[in-house]
Subunit: 328 residues, 2 copies
């Protein structure tokens, strides 16, 4: 990436130029201070575009067929004339780098579709960093005119919460399960779900999938009833990504829910609160970043920390000294 942005970057993104979009996402993924400043300026220029995609969070543990689902679901949407962007939040990729190269081969047909745009998870050690960069990539995709932005995450740790906090709908993809098996999904994640899709509702697994759907439908209703949900939501539905079955029904339900929330004001209110949340999170992160980014501050943190570790100073007194130096 060149250090200097072309002056017409914003215009090119608004015109839907994929290469500019990709470069802009690389820019927001950078941790360099000059890149951050350029990224902030670019996002501010694009903030007034007024374009809005439906942001869909999708979570599911490995093995539920997430890639196949995204491919089939995405191909169905693009066939209907919708432009689809797929982003990923995968904290594990920070360590292993594993899924980064895999993303495009995982979704071979969709990645060649001119109506689709697939971007792997940024490789950042810090989940908060991944979150900010993904959220900014969502804004860029919206400005570039995508109709649907799908944010995929693996069912691990806090990544679901982050994805739920940057999306309009949060969908859980599950596999057919036997009896009261819980598939390792935490209650908190179930509570965030607007919809559970039970995949692999085909062939021999169909009866098990249908039973799982009715189990989850009951569980969902017990777990959550929110004022921003119309009658019947949250919902559990069967799909088969492989047989491309149930996908239209799932999409219809998603758009029905989004429409209901738009009409009842929940949609905009939720987005406004999400934006405020991310602003506050960014201020907090920026404040804390000083402790690491400024060499003089970092050195002082180290020397005061050494004194505390050696028992020469109490943590409170050393912290007070440091905060005094920081002007806090």
């Amino acid at each position: 990436m060149t250090a200097q942005l072309p002056p017409d970057m914003a215009q090119k993104i608004l015109a839907g130029d994929r290469r500019s979009l990709a470069r802009a996402i690389t820019l927001v993924e950078s941790g360099r201070a000059d890149h951050r400043a350029q990224a902030a300026a670019l996002l501010e220029q694009l903030a007034g575009s007024g374009r809005q995609a439906l942001r869909i969070g999708l979570s599911g543990t490995p093995g539920v067929g997430k890639s196949t689902f995204i491919e089939s679901f995405g191909m169905m949407l693009t066939a209907q004339g919708l432009r689809v962007a797929v982003l990923a939040v995968d904290p594990s990729s920070a360590r292993s780098g594993g899924s980064i190269l895999g993303d495009k081969t995982r979704m071979e047909r969709l990645s060649r579709d001119p109506m689709a745009f697939i971007r792997p998870s940024p490789s950042q050690a810090h989940l908060g960093g991944v979150a900010r960069r993904t959220r900014e990539a969502v804004s860029l995709c919206e400005a570039a005119g995508f109709d649907v932005v799908l944010i995929e995450t693996v069912g691990v740790g806090q990544s679901e919460t982050l994805v739920a906090e940057m999306t309009d709908l949060f969908i859980l993809l599950m596999a057919p399960a036997g009896g009261d098996e819980l598939q390792g999904v935490k209650r908190g994640i179930m509570e965030m779900a607007d919809m559970i899709l039970v995949n692999k509702a085909d062939g021999d697994l169909k009866p098990a999938a249908m039973r799982t759907v009715s189990d989850y439908a009951g569980a969902l209703r017990l777990l959550r009833k929110r004022s921003q949900d119309p009658e019947g939501f949250p919902k559990a539905l069967p799909v088969s990504a492989l047989a491309e079955d149930g996908l239209q029904k799932a999409w219809d339900e998603m758009t029905a829910l989004a429409t209901w929330r738009r009409e009842n004001g929940h949609f905009d209110r939720c987005r406004a609160e999400q934006a405020r949340h991310w602003f506050e999170a960014e201020v907090r992160e920026g404040l804390l970043a000083r402790l690491h980014s400024d060499p003089a501050i970092r050195a002082k943190m180290q020397s005061l920390g050494d004194a505390v570790a050696a028992g020469q100073s109490a943590p409170a007194a050393a912290a007070a000294e440091m905060l005094g130096l920081l002007g806090a």
Copy 2:
């Protein structure tokens, strides 16, 4: 509490004066800026006392008999001439105020023992605040000459991690369980345990307790093997707080582990890293506190947040403006 500390407060604490200790703990529990400054000064004066207690963290879900255990275990230690302080970290007390009044009645005999000192959990809404105050109370108890500081926590949320980060040994108290029952203890908490004590190893429950001990002994060895553990640790042992059985054996194992770690340098290294950790945590908290404590900053956060929520500004640009005002 008076706003001004008596000038001989530190001397009185070092002399073991209980009333001064209690007042000093009230001081460190205060959130007022002038109290914080006084507390930091007092802790700094006492930092050089060179006194060290064995800090034991004790976690267990309600119903395992934690109060009875602390009472029996504490009485056994005081009978051996050891001075015992009991502190609590209970995030739930912030909301309910529930266990605060209960602490002394829960441990009736121990609370009347002149060799023991019991202090309930500070009522703070913020777990980080509870942690800092408890950690500072530990320092005060050490300066006051206590030999053992027991920090009790309920098995909820992050409180175990905080307690493990301020203690030398972390003990999990469990009830006898049938078969592969997990007692709602998370794997992460099991991994922190230096020792699991299975309580109620008496009467009808004794066989179940013994089976549970051997189940946990196996699980512990699978879960964790750290270089700071001698052969055979982490360990699971049966105790009966009610029958006062197995307590001496548990104490012998605790001191054996502490002695081994002291001789191998792990003990001091761990304390040094804990102290550094708390210093860094306090600096971070202090930095973030500015966002709420300063009315002008709070108002600006609100107005910039409003602009972001209204879509007039992008989170990154608003955050950059705020950070500029904060000099960060």
